[in-house]
Symmetry: C2
Subunit: 306 residues, 2 copies
């Protein structure tokens, strides 16, 4: 296993077992061996799940894109004894969605884990590229909205009360930086790794990887022989969310540990999200919404107009 992640010279010691270390963890100013790293990684996930306070036996629906994060969180939760089922939504993006589905299938088959696949076109009526052609809105934000809403609905349909997503420390810290620099105070309430269920048709949302950095997840994938989809989404180039993560990466190289401190201090100082204001049923689909029409039906009607 030592050869899997060789990044340190012979003689470097693991901070936990004092054996040969092969993994450099600059934000902790420490080195680790693969076995202790796996323990560290699982501890991160375990601490997150403990914070969320759900019963250990609650079945979890894991939203899997086929990328490193969603496969890693699925692997870790399964390894920690959680009852999991994967859910994958085919977005219909040429040269990307096919590979993504294959990565999920390969992962699930190897581990004999149950999963289910939906297609965005069947569930919503359009693929992501078809939506992009018909809207002037930023496609990453539309795609994110649809994935959030559809995952809620499909999870309820599949009988689950909790949905797991793969968002990691970098994602959450980047989002926090973006919201802070643009003073998007209305988004702060939901800037939290656990959103409780506030309606029978809205499952709880969990981000068990919020304590783990992107590079740690890449290392975990290597150690656990997880083979995520290699391609990046071709439609997400130049997304502003990337810019905030890159700015934080820059600060991290200059001041190791900045990213963790930034996110964790924020989370420590704030209260968990409160119960939100009462929902009304959407007049089209009956799903809970704040307005007259839910965001999915609103988008659908906008797309039909054009």
């Amino acid at each position: 296993m030592k050869d899997i992640v060789p990044s340190l010279p012979a003689g470097a010691k693991c901070i936990r077992c004092r054996g040969q270390a092969s993994i450099r963890m600059s934000s902790h100013n420490a080195n680790m061996c693969p076995s202790c790293f796996r323990h560290y990684f699982h501890t991160g996930v375990r601490r997150a799940m403990k914070k969320f306070g759900l019963p250990h036996r609650l079945p979890l629906m894991v939203a899997v894109s086929g990328g490193k994060d969603s496969l890693a969180v699925w692997e870790a939760l399964h390894g920690l004894g959680y009852d999991t089922k994967g859910i994958h939504v085919d977005l219909g993006i040429d040269g990307f969605s096919g590979q993504s589905s294959e990565a999920v299938q390969r992962f699930a088959e190897t581990r004999k884990l149950p999963w289910v696949k939906y297609s965005l076109r069947e569930a919503f009526g359009y693929t992501v590229p078809e939506i992009q052609k018909r809207t002037r809105r930023k496609i990453c934000s539309v795609c994110g909205l649809l994935k959030r809403q559809l995952l809620n609905r499909l999870a309820v349909k599949e009988g689950f009360e909790a949905v797991v997503v793969g968002h990691n420390l970098d994602d959450e810290a980047g989002r926090l930086l973006g919201n802070l620099t643009r003073h998007r105070t209305r988004y702060f309430e939901k800037q939290y790794p656990f959103l409780p269920s506030t309606h029978p048709r809205l499952p709880a949302k969990l981000k068990p990887l919020y304590r783990l950095e992107a590079h740690e997840i890449r290392t975990y994938c290597k150690i656990e022989n997880i083979i995520p989809v290699e391609a990046d989404c071709p439609l997400s180039k130049g997304a502003t969310s990337h810019a905030f993560k890159e700015a934080l990466d820059f600060l991290e190289t200059r001041m190791p540990g900045t990213k963790r401190d930034f996110l964790f201090t924020y989370l420590d100082r704030r209260n968990p999200p409160r119960d939100s204001s009462p929902f009304e049923p959407c007049r089209e689909c009956g799903e809970p919404t704040y307005g007259d029409l839910c965001s999915v039906c609103r988008l659908k009607s906008q797309l039909a107009e054009d």
Copy 2:
């Protein structure tokens, strides 16, 4: 004058006078000619001074390091009819302080502006390099503390009620980002371009360049034939304040206007600093302080111990 700042092709039009533009202002998505740029720059300073609400006739002591910012703010305030006097503190840094003093002298002589020079060693007992040898604290933070405190004292001694410093938009936005990412909430109160006088021995502090970006100040210097000291302070390499400014520069290139929005929205949403808690006189020097001993006397006693 067109040739001074040639950065745009022939035919590019000034957004204000429609003449040939030579200055690109990406954060405003606009181009300008040098004459209209000067007007823009002076408007920025005028708007800042109006916000501060001091009488126009109040004599201003301008803290001048010899760098682009302090010389530019002095030039602009003088141009706008303010009664100014420069104050320069020789920090005793080899190969830098001499050049800095020369830049101030050259600027003031050309414009026939009054100024006074002090030396840190005479005023405090040590040069900055001597302090660096005797303390483990970060030298930029110690030097900043000393300059702030000594400028207050020297300004009062010179009979001024207000001190002007050259901090620009990049400085203030970088400081805000640093305080936000490190959750240094106790510094937020003073994160403001104007600090009123709260004690007879504490002059008001003004940052008239807080609306102007570093690159705009460089352009202004070229237009006004201001020749600042060329060298950077040799002791400030790797200062964390630089890292936050660089991170913002990166975001600015990806999303022009981010820096301005970030700082201005913050300032718009907050209240000006309140009157601070009552001071006590320092038991050594009698200057107003929150504790028993002021920070200057505390530093002095620490340096004498080693």
